[in-house]
Symmetry: C2
Subunit: 415 residues, 2 copies
């Protein structure tokens, strides 16, 4: 197969994907091979584990150790994490995608998403909401208590709701949300609203009492990013089937662990190409500045890899209030991404571009040739553990990842 | 006061308005002066009552007479309606606004909207949903049964929900929805979603049993126009305070009864200026064409009068799939409306125009000078009673209404 044929095949796989929410379960039950002392994190691997982790990832790891009851204090957490007895591994190695620090520990409930075209499954945690939350490195008592409520209050109710109501087509929700001002990475208000509308009647039917269901509905309403984790699992479910496709030069994964940015390329399988993560150019919450910012973090860039997020900014002019810039720039970002992609989505359409499909299928060759890097919408974490989100903005991956990948493609296929 | 000062004052009144949903009640309880045998309809008055009414309005009148139990068959309904013993009057004369035929009879529950700036109140029925519904002139048994459920199932539950949860700021919902692809006349998906999110936890808390609340939530989810009637009452609450403002040349009301288009101008008080309603240029549902279309109908054009709907089409490029045209045309419609308005909304902002406020305050003088008529997004009813909606599209009011009004302004203020 030629590169061109391989890339066309990959584009077809991406366009035919049907990511569908099929249920929830505990990570330890459904993530294959998760050993009892495993902690998953966002991005590529940390070669030296704890030593390589930035502040917010360390904070989130400590939070997960406290949540699991493996330690009972921050100090104990740091000691255990540094001891070498915890198996740290990327979410992506276990079929999952995690926003920001992306920490998944065995007791955490996860959404289960199945790509109905092919049957591959992916997983993501339930989004915790805004403010001080584990994914931004916060681990105070309130953060752990909230995770406990997610496990004991939210999870069983959502699990039963989905069992009763059946599967939910995530591609349809994302497609609708792109007609409603979301780009489904940093803006998920419409998608979250559409999901709540679907779930609400069924939550009403299965809730053990009025108050439990009301609290679940209030929590979802309070969190416009509730859909983000579902969208991420859907994007991963869409892209995973191209990983390993011979001759294919499309990016199958992009992810950041807060220290490094990593990409995986379809034709090169599970091999990561990494370089130091960049600092984000964005808008900061009052009292914070660029000096406080951690480098780029999280698996949420799977959105852009699948052709939404920064690639769909033209659909989401309102997002410039959150990440900076003008509506015209938002449109320009999308338009420029057609230069580095091999095709267009046939489901994710942008009204203002007269329903043109979002730029889809990032070709490593075009990125290196043009020097034009994927544009990413993202949140900004404080660089210290325990503080949380301090802003949002735009970032690009390091060019070096793509250059390395291109060299490896040449070595493998045209030595 | 000069015309210029009067118009600026009116723009200030419009911009400071705070339309707020405060509750629900039966029309007969809250619409002042509604006599026992009154039927309200959309648009300006019918000088000769029943004789002047088009098919869908007649159908909806028959439906209301059946619903109220004043007659027990279509034939009896036609007879009573033609007898002269029913008081037919515009919704606008009783503080209400009704979509399409706009029929309100005393037993129907209505939303109560209060403009917190000034305290004026407006009313609208609960949107019945899509398909064969009273507002499009359908009056079959199923239509009446559904109205009965609205009265007996939906209304008491929503009433109690609002009593428990308190008031809802409609200006905020509309403003948000304009950032989410709605123009809040023919596209209300985002606004409906935002409303459902707010209501759901409280519906859960007050529902007598699981199934009643679940059915209410399912009904709202099934109807993307659920917010339309609230938006209309909010627009009317926003505009009513300018009616009667001396020297003011701004349009305070536009409305159609399916036979005539009518406008009222702030400086000329309650006087209507009417001309035959136009035929709508639009997209038709399969099996229907322009030949089946009733002329322009309904009070929903209060949306455009308040600066949303067709005036906010740039915020809603996806609507062109429903009403025809391209995204570029949608933007152009909004841009052209700045030529006939005296200002911009300071709350209803359009992301793609870099958050410019929607064109607000239609100046009769500018309409006549430029010949540029307000652009209206609207639904299309079948011209025969009992069939329902057959499409959606764009329409303009007859220029004659504006010419008459301008002459009257000159006669009154510059004789």
């Amino acid at each position: 197969m030629s590169i061109r044929e391989a890339n066309e095949k990959a584009l077809g796989i991406i366009n035919r994907a049907r990511p569908t929410l099929i249920g929830l379960d505990r990570a330890g039950e459904v993530l294959e091979g998760l050993t009892p002392k495993t902690i998953l994190h966002a991005g590529p691997p940390f070669p030296r584990g704890w030593v390589d982790m930035s502040g917010p990832v360390r904070g989130a790891v400590i939070g997960a150790l406290l949540y699991e009851g493996w330690v009972s204090s921050q100090e104990e957490g740091e000691e255990l994490a540094a001891s070498g007895s915890i198996n740290f591994a990327p979410c992506h190695h276990y079929g999952a995608a995690g926003p920001m620090a992306g920490i998944i520990s065995p007791s955490m409930p996860v959404w289960i998403v199945e790509n109905k075209e092919g049957g591959n499954r992916t997983f993501s945690t339930i989004n915790e909401g805004l403010g001080r939350v584990l994914r931004f490195g916060a681990y105070q008592e309130g953060v752990i208590r909230h995770l406990r409520w997610i496990e004991e209050g939210l999870f069983p109710l959502l699990q039963e709701t989905l069992e009763k109501m059946g599967e939910i087509d995530l591609k349809e929700i994302t497609a609708q949300a792109l007609q409603m001002g979301d780009e489904c990475h940093n803006r998920n208000r419409a998608a979250t609203s559409l999901l709540i509308r679907k779930l609400a009647p069924h939550i009403m039917r299965v809730s053990p009492g009025r108050e439990e269901g009301a609290r679940v509905l209030e929590f979802m309403d309070s969190n416009d990013h509730f859909y983000l984790n579902l969208s991420m699992a859907a994007c991963k479910a869409t892209l995973d089937p191209i990983l390993g496709l011979k001759e294919c030069t499309l990016v199958a994964t992009m992810a950041r662990n807060g220290t490094d940015f990593g990409i995986r390329v379809a034709g090169l399988g599970h091999r990561w190409f990494t370089a130091p993560a960049e600092i984000i150019d964005g808008l900061f919450f009052p009292g914070y500045s660029q000096d406080d910012a951690n480098p780029d973090l999280g698996d949420s860039v799977i959105s852009e890899t699948a052709g939404i997020g920064g690639f769909a900014m033209a659909a989401s002019p309102a997002i410039v209030q959150f990440v900076g810039g003008s509506a015209g720039e938002a449109t320009h970002y999308t338009e420029s991404m057609y230069e580095i992609t091999v095709g267009e989505s046939d489901s994710y359409l942008i009204p203002i571009l007269d329903f043109r499909g979002t730029p889809t299928g990032i070709d490593v060759r075009r990125v290196v040739e043009t020097g034009l890097l994927p544009v990413i919408n993202t949140g900004i974490a404080h660089k210290k553990a325990g503080i949380g989100q301090i802003g949002a903005g735009l970032v690009r991956p390091p060019l070096d990842c793509f250059q390395q990948a291109l060299r490896a493609l040449v070595e493998k296929y045209r030595p």
